[in-house]
Symmetry: C2
DNA sequence: CTGTGGGCAACGTGCCGACAA
DNA sequence: TTGTCGGCACGTTGCCCACAG
């Protein structure tokens, strides 16, 4: 059952677990680095969180640019105490910086480190029913759980895992059945009902450096944990985003934003280096082919290929000459109906390099299901070429 | 069990039920009337909802006055789908109106009409335990439930009641036990767990004009349904309130606010007539005695007596000469620790009339527990004198 | 008049291996 | 290898009245 919990939840949570819950696509710029903040993207997130249309009748602030270069003063990781939805709190300090300065002293880009000793399983109907326990994939159990004492019959142990709120959960881990399998029995249903998990949601376990077990959840995309927000009207929130950023920019003072990786359609705080690379190292033209990373239903990554069909402002009136979603795109696969029809420069990987015509040697490829090409290796090469 | 539910919940809910859930103190100005909107009060509500301090470092908008006179363009009643917490959405249109105009054509004040055929019971430990059902006070059952057929043994019927979301709940109503009593058995526990009711929360039943049963809940004051709001920072919300009001006032356009009666420390949209009456019909001086209405733990009303100890701005820097909480007060009863130390003019009833020295004749008093004076009658007389 | 608790039956929860995908 | 099911034991839920405040 549940145990202690950090009251107030002020400090940052376990980073490894947070990133595992956030998913493989989410990476946060390092504290102290320069970033670009896009008010449009922020408003998109707020609109997504409140399920309201963003294109209201609200005028833009005359002096507020479509991008604000900031120093990322602080980042803390959090999780909603009700839903365990992960989010990050960022303190941004608007700064004046010349293009030259920025290009001469690029920030380090930090890639998202998914934990190594971890597994993530999408729950089946049997896993979430009251009739039984949780069936652990064999590989997963062997990788992250402490080894069982197989001299005992049946082999079993008690597992203790801590969630994002530092709450303890106890499970009986047993290896039984015909054929044999790993199961979580006692304690599992308490966890399922406490977290209100349903079939389709995912659970993940991590073994950290010290051998402690951590666990987290990733809810299925469908159930958007939307709160109708009877606190502030969506218009007022819209105003709030603009006014807070405008005030901070005008007075060179810090402002605070929340980034909800699993709610937001796109990241709206981008490393300055990444932004500049995308902007200056590539010529974006209509007809250009590109790839873009998405998270699949099964919590892994998948790249989709598309073509740039247009260039231009998403909102020419209020946000002229903004780089936010300035590319109109089409997708190769017809099942791409729900994918964005507008993306931003830094989200895509151009496909203009000769590597496409000359795939890497087989020796460099890792094993892959369904005969897809060795995408990760290809990506590494792409990145290199892109860097330069 | 649950049945149909209004998707989107756009339209206004049943007014009678909403007011019953909101409590006896809550009254809403009529649509079309003139009201005074106090940004400070709005900010207080937002701060209470997010459990953050309101006195941040945020500057006031230079052109934003502490009160904005508006036409109440529309009011719709709502309830949080998760918690059933009631709230009202108001559309306000800032208007220019001279003092003279306002005084010459006063709006009708509408008092809150609590339903007549209704009862409200605070749940006991037995009511909420899984061991049994719900014990209905005899008077209550006889007043609002359809009469039982006492020729049957035991007398029993099925009740169907609709909640704020138009969801149906079915209960078995039976009259049994030794001595006999009214009980809700089958269906009751489903309701308790679905609404997550605890001992101390209240449940209320209404029979409307057409004989339909309605039911609602009032949660105990202690469990503040606070959401940490990972959507917008409290600073941004603060900005949002100010910017939305400021923009609406500057452009004479409508803006939308939410009023959460059970979250907000005080009403911040006041009928213009009520505001003027309080402002012009009374001289507020230090030492003046007054009474003020509060809701008791048992969901009834109670008046407390206090003394004005000071007059002056709550926030002289950002909101100079504001009437919002401009009165510093002390309370007669020592148990008044948690009551506000600052109130606004329109919240109190002055005790300066001769009626205090000359209580109304006993014949006019209604029966009252614990020998308290006949407050309601007194209040009626007070109001009359106040009107004039 | 109504809150709590003992008694008891019905139901749901949860552990097990069997089977099959 | 692992998702679902039938079987079964046991704990909880929920209806009844007795009793007392």
């Amino acid at each position: 059952g549940p145990a202690t919990m950090d009251p107030g939840e002020r400090r940052s949570l376990n980073s490894e677990l947070w990133h595992a819950c956030a998913g493989p696509l989410v990476s946060l710029p390092p504290v102290g680095s320069r970033v670009v903040y896009f008010p449009q993207g922020h408003i998109e997130q707020v609109a997504a969180s409140t399920q309201k249309d963003a294109d209201a009748h609200i005028p833009n602030y005359p002096s507020l640019p479509s991008k604000i270069i900031c120093l990322l003063d602080n980042v803390t990781l959090h999780a909603d105490p009700e839903t365990d939805e992960v989010y990050a709190q960022m303190i941004l300090l608007p700064i004046q910086i010349s293009e030259k300065e920025a290009l001469l002293s690029p920030d380090l880009e930090v890639v998202n480190k998914q934990p190594t000793e971890y597994f993530c399983k999408t729950l089946t109907a049997s896993d979430t029913s009251t009739h039984g326990g949780f069936s652990i994939p064999r590989r997963a159990a062997e990788k992250v759980f402490p080894p069982l004492d197989f001299t005992r019959v049946p082999p079993a142990q008690e597992l203790v895992a801590r969630d994002l709120h530092d709450q303890e959960w106890h499970f009986r881990h047993i290896y039984r059945g015909q054929p044999r399998r790993h199961l979580l029995t006692t304690g599992w249903s308490v966890f399922v009902s406490a977290k209100r998990l349903q079939a389709g949601d995912s659970v993940l376990f991590i073994r950290d450096d010290k051998g402690n077990l951590l666990l987290g959840i990733r809810r299925a995309n469908r159930q958007q944990t939307v709160m109708p927000s009877s606190v502030l009207s969506s218009d007022s929130m819209h105003f709030g985003v603009l006014a807070a950023a405008s005030h901070a920019a005008a007075t060179s003072s810090r402002f605070k934003i929340f980034y909800n990786p699993r709610q937001s359609p796109s990241e709206f705080v981008i490393p300055l280096t990444k932004y500049h690379k995308a902007l200056y190292n590539t010529q974006f033209t209509v007809g250009m082919r590109f790839r873009m990373v998405f998270e699949t239903e099964e919590s892994s990554v998948r790249r989709y290929v598309g073509t740039i069909t247009g260039l231009g402002d998403l909102d020419p009136i209020r946000w002229p000459k903004s780089h936010w979603r300035s590319l109109k795109v089409g997708w190769d696969e017809s099942t791409a109906g729900e994918r964005q029809h507008r993306v931003s420069l830094w989200e895509i990987e151009p496909l203009t390099t000769p590597f496409l015509l000359c795939p890497p040697p087989l020796a460099l490829r890792s094993k892959r299901p369904r005969g897809m090409p060795g995408e990760d290796d290809l990506e590494m090469l792409m990145k290199k070429s892109h860097m330069w």
